[in-house]
């Protein structure tokens, strides 16, 4: 049936358009933009976009030739307003390159930028992700 074919095509499109599927299958995962091409893929699964209330996100760092991730720094700022958050987020390693980030507080609506720095051994890679807060 044409309808079934259309659904199947949509499913295929959704599959192809999803994250690179290198190490994350969550359809809400957004690939962060690295500073350099050699950096491993990093995905952010954002929590609720709320203003001035603590929220969080999950970070997924795909396997890296430099070895196991030794640390992750996470922050956010509003480039157009020239200020960051008023609170330090908490970062918890969940294993397998996954990190739970809590107590992110975006205290104004508007365009925020999520910034992440990942370290493995002597290597370091930085990432950004545009994050509109309504």
């Amino acid at each position: 049936m044409p309808a079934n074919r259309a659904v199947a095509a949509l499913c295929l499109l959704a599959y192809l358009a999803g994250p690179a599927l290198a190490c994350v299958s969550d359809p809400d995962a957004q690939r962060m933009t690295p500073e350099t091409e050699a950096a491993p893929e990093v995905y952010a699964i954002l929590g609720p976009s709320v203003v001035s209330q603590p929220t969080g996100l999950e970070l997924v760092v795909c396997p890296w030739n430099s070895g196991a991730v030794s640390s992750v720094d996470v922050d956010a700022w509003m480039p157009s307003h020239q200020h960051g958050m008023n609170y330090e987020p908490d970062i918890e390693a969940l294993g397998n390159g996954r990190f739970a980030i809590t107590n992110m507080v975006y205290h104004m609506p508007g365009p925020w930028e999520l910034t992440v720095t990942v370290r493995a051994g002597a290597e370091r890679a930085s990432y950004v992700l545009d994050m509109p807060i309504p």
Binding site: V51, S52, S80, H81, N86, Y87, E88, N103, P134
Partner: protein, 384 residues
């Protein structure tokens, strides 16, 4: 907003998009309507404060109200909380700077809706309402009392029975515990100080229900003022949510000088006091074993930009709480709008608050913005 409401709002937003703003009988665009909905509903559903075991307790609320008006809480029986937090003035007062035993440095902040705050006082010296309530009791320039005097008062005076019913015999308590318990009763009372529904709220709720005919009852001038508030006025960056405040601290371009040679450090000083206080949500005096809310004091950042920042006040009931700003330097709402309309950029941090710049609103736009702001205060005033 529950799922049904979301569906209804989405339906009406789509309908409004299709029909265009003129057919909706309101001036707002669908995007402005969507943003307007974030400023409600009001009043918010606020549960008891888990850090205060007498929060929401009717006997504690009545006890707290008595204490609030009782000058015997002060060292010499001369002033009470209500001396500065005047009920008929929105629990604020009409002088620019508060007068305790001496002239104080800041305007008396309104206590209306104080139970919804994350930080308390102009500089956020406290992360909970009971901790904030004990500061003026102990401040030598305000009530100037002390824990031992209060313990004696609770042991021998007319409050002994009520105190014992709520907290147990005061003779079993260290004086500091009695002080905190008194502050918790005061906090239980202050949590009940909530502004009512305004014409803005009726407008906002009508929009949520898609009742454009009822929404159109909101004056067009106030609607235009709301559009300025959400748009070119940049007001809604800080005055967010149902309480019209993001609860954080900003440099609003008001001079820091209290008098020549003396400055008010604002949030910088507030954070110092907060982090030295034993009365935070992370401390031993909270009644919440889970220490909910303590993330804020644990995670709050200190930066050089904190200097001269002050807490963003709620705009609800603001018409009743003139004068304005942390130092009471602006006598009326017209002055506040004029301040932002012609803001002195020289008074701002060089690397902060990039959104503040002269608004250059016309006289008509100023009138519209004022009409909107006043519509946040046309609820039934609190009785004296």
């Amino acid at each position: 907003m529950n799922r049904l409401c979301r569906i209804i709002v989405a339906f009406h937003l789509v309908a409004a998009i299709i029909a265009g703003p003129a057919a909706a009988d309101v001036l707002l665009t669908p995007e402005e309507i969507s943003r307007t909905l974030t400023h409600g509903p009001w009043p918010p559903a606020v549960g008891p404060d888990p850090s205060n075991r007498v929060s929401g307790n009717a006997a504690a609320i009545a006890f707290g109200e008595q204490l609030f008006h009782d000058p015997d809480l002060s060292r010499d029986g001369s002033i009470s909380c209500a001396t500065c937090h005047v009920p008929a003035r929105g629990f604020s007062e009409d002088r620019p700077r508060a007068m305790g035993r001496v002239a104080l440095d800041r305007n008396t902040p309104s206590l209306m809706n104080v139970g919804t705050h994350r930080w308390f006082g102009w500089a956020g010296d406290s992360d909970n309402l009971w901790a904030q309530s004990l500061l003026p009791i102990l401040n030598a320039d305000e009530l100037a009392s002390d824990a031992q005097s209060l313990k004696t008062m609770m042991a021998d005076g007319p409050y002994a029975s009520t105190y014992a019913q709520l907290f147990g015999p005061s003779s079993d308590h260290a004086s500091e515990t009695v002080l905190v318990n008194i502050a918790k009763a005061l906090a239980a009372y202050k949590e009940t100080l909530i502004t009512g529904q305004t014409s803005f709220d009726r407008f906002r709720d009508a929009l949520e229900l898609g009742d454009m005919a009822r929404a159109a009852d909101y004056p067009e001038s106030a609607q235009r003022g709301l559009q300025i508030f959400l748009g070119k006025g940049n007001c809604a960056f800080c005055h967010t949510g149902p309480a019209f405040t993001n609860g954080e601290f900003h440099d609003a371009g008001v001079p820091y000088f209290i008098e020549p040679g003396r400055v008010d450090p604002g949030r910088h000083g507030g954070l110092k006091a907060l982090l030295e206080s034993p009365f935070t949500l992370d401390g031993a005096f909270t009644d919440d074993p889970g220490k909910r809310g303590a993330w804020a004091v644990r995670n709050v950042r200190r930066t050089h930009l904190d200097f001269g920042k002050f807490r963003v006040p709620s705009l609800r009931g603001a018409s009743r709480t003139a004068p304005y700003m942390h130092d009471g330097s602006l006598p009326d709402l017209e002055s506040v709008v004029a301040h932002y309309n012609t803001i002195d950029m020289e008074r701002l941090h060089a690397d902060g608050e990039a959104i503040l710049m002269p608004l250059n609103l016309s006289d008509d736009e100023v009138d519209d913005l004022l009409a909107f702001l006043r519509s946040l205060s046309d609820d039934q005033p609190v009785a004296d």
